[in-house]
């Protein structure tokens, strides 16, 4: 099965870190991504631009409205994702548990709808 690990975090945290801490943080993600690759688990992964750059579209009364900003205003925002291949939820949860985001944010595990 394929699972999406959606990473949510407080975006202001990054700016409050010292350059050294930022470097360490980035290194943790690089190592995690490398581990997923070596295990042959990783399908795709990306970090997203901060949520203020988001644009939200929806149709109200037949008219498409465009809004500047993310869909939901909340402290934790979607910051990136990993798409992985895992035999079952336990295996996916094990990978999610190793993700650095668990230490400073939230990781949501969602199975991909199999077509």
């Amino acid at each position: 099965m394929q699972y999406l690990l959606a990473l949510y975090m407080d975006e202001s945290g990054w700016g409050r870190m010292t350059p050294e801490q930022q470097q360490q943080g980035a290194a943790a993600y690089t190592a995690y991504t490398q581990a997923l690759k070596s295990a042959g688990v990783l399908i795709n992964s990306n970090r997203l631009q901060p949520s203020p750059t988001a644009t939200t579209l929806r149709t109200t009364n037949g008219k498409t409205q465009v809004l500047d900003g993310p869909f939901a205003e909340s402290k934790e925002q979607l910051a990136g994702y990993y798409l992985i291949e895992a035999p079952d939820l336990d295996a996916a949860m094990q990978w999610a548990g190793r993700c650095p985001a668990v230490q400073h944010g939230i990781v949501e595990v969602r199975a991909i709808w199999a077509m």
Binding site: Y3, P87, D88, L89, D90, A92, M93, V109, W113
Partner: protein, 416 residues
């Protein structure tokens, strides 16, 4: 025309297999296909087929095998229909794999199903109901009445959980050694929750609840057979057997509540108590203590007290100490205070109750007020005792216990 006596026999045979084997057949099919809902549907259809075919051709020698094969075919048809690009080979391979399954594999599949139902990714509140339905085959309406939830709401929550098992890919397997303790804990907790629901019906007049206690003991026995090295599984079995053994003495013939210390010990089921003692001994051999072993050990100390006529309150107090330390539960602290009162007198017990602190949950917790009322009465603080009894009575839902508290309050000496 179908021969009626033969028809009856086939019906009775199908019904007997349904009662005896439904749980394990579901476990087998669900584990194989990763889908509880589809397994239940396929097995229901197989039962319908059995009722159509068995009267004509006679009951098969191996009715379980017949039902399993029929259900398997229906599941494979179902999978074919749901697959856009049907792969003809794969279902046949699955079928072959299933024919190889021997009877020895059934209990393990059932255990794997238990672990799927109590998976951390499923809302803990639905673990016990899900287990009762999927593993034991109880009806949603029956479970709903035991857990005091509307049948519609219960049915919806069960369907939602089963859908999540399928769509989220929750595995049907026994966890690895390193993750077993955590995962086993939630299985044990849901078995105990089922037992507690059954135990709440003291007189055993509500068949749905009565059955829950028995089914919980059955599952705990199965766990100890399959995981004989897990002391907490033995501890839970012992705890439930101790409690169940006292069921006949918990109420008088008139349905009045009888507290533990006043129970007629000759009405306890001593054979069951012996089995409990043996289970607890088995658990203690591994030297890994846990919540259920401690609770069972407390029961054991009470039984020993009943046997010898004098309970070892100091042992009971230290067992509650250990339990409170392990679980951080205020309930353990309340019981510790009651035992301490028996060891050192009611004022020490009251001091211990006061020391539990101001956990707001205690304000609406009946056993806290009942304990306070009893200890205040014994210490001679009669007005305060009456007030505590009133609160305890107001918080109790069981009429027999309510009546017992009312009598205890009335029995307090007159204040001048």
């Amino acid at each position: 025309m179908v021969n009626p006596p033969n028809d009856d026999r086939a019906y009775a045979a199908a019904e007997a297999v349904a009662l005896r084997s439904r749980g394990k057949l579901i476990a087998f099919l669900a584990a194989q296909f990763g889908d509880v809902v589809a397994a239940e549907d396929a097995l229901s259809e197989a039962f319908v087929s059995a009722l159509a075919v068995w009267p004509q051709k006679g009951c098969p020698d191996n009715p379980e095998g017949w039902l399993l094969t029929a259900a398997r075919r229906k599941l494979i048809d179902h999978l074919r229909k749901n697959r856009e690009t049907s792969n003809d080979d794969e279902p046949e391979q699955l079928a072959d794999a299933m024919i190889d399954a021997t009877n020895d594999e059934f209990p393990n599949r059932r255990l794997a199903l238990l672990f799927a139902c109590a998976h951390p990714a499923i809302d803990p509140a639905i673990h016990a109901p899900l287990m009762l339905q999927v593993v034991l085959g109880l009806e949603a309406a029956q479970i709903a009445s035991a857990f005091l939830v509307s049948p519609t709401a219960m049915a919806q929550r069960l369907v939602r959980a089963k859908t999540k098992i399928r769509e989220a890919g929750i595995p049907f397997r026994i966890p690895e050694r390193n993750e077993l303790p955590d995962r086993l804990e939630s299985v044990l907790d849901s078995i105990y929750a089922s037992f507690a629901e059954g135990w709440a019906d003291a007189t055993g007049t509500d068949p749905a609840r009565r059955e829950l206690a028995g089914e919980a003991i059955f599952l705990a026995r199965l766990l100890t057979q399959l995981l004989p090295d897990e002391p907490e599984a033995w501890g839970l079995l012992a705890l439930m057997l101790y409690a169940e053994a006292r069921r006949p003495a918990r109420r008088t013939a008139e349905g009045e509540f009888v507290p533990l210390r006043e129970q007629d010990k000759t009405r306890w089921d001593w054979a069951m108590i012996e089995e409990a003692e043996a289970a607890l001994n088995h658990a203690s051999r591994s030297r890994r203590i846990g919540r259920y072993q401690l609770e069972a050990a407390i029961q054991s100390a009470h039984v020993e007290g009943a046997r010898t006529g004098s309970a070892s309150w100091s042992a009971i107090v230290s067992l509650y100490d250990a339990l409170a330390q392990l679980t951080g539960s205020p309930v353990a602290l309340i019981n510790r205070a009651i035992a301490l009162a028996d060891l050192q007198g009611p004022s020490d017990g009251l001091a211990a109750l006061d020391a539990i602190g101001t956990d707001p949950r205690l304000e609406s917790y009946q056993p806290y007020w009942a304990a306070r009322a009893d200890l205040l009465g014994r210490a001679g603080s009669l007005a305060a005792a009456r007030h505590a009894y009133q609160l305890a009575i107001g918080l109790e839902s069981d009429p027999a216990v309510r009546e017992y508290l009312r009598r205890s309050c009335n029995d307090l000496p007159e204040t001048r």
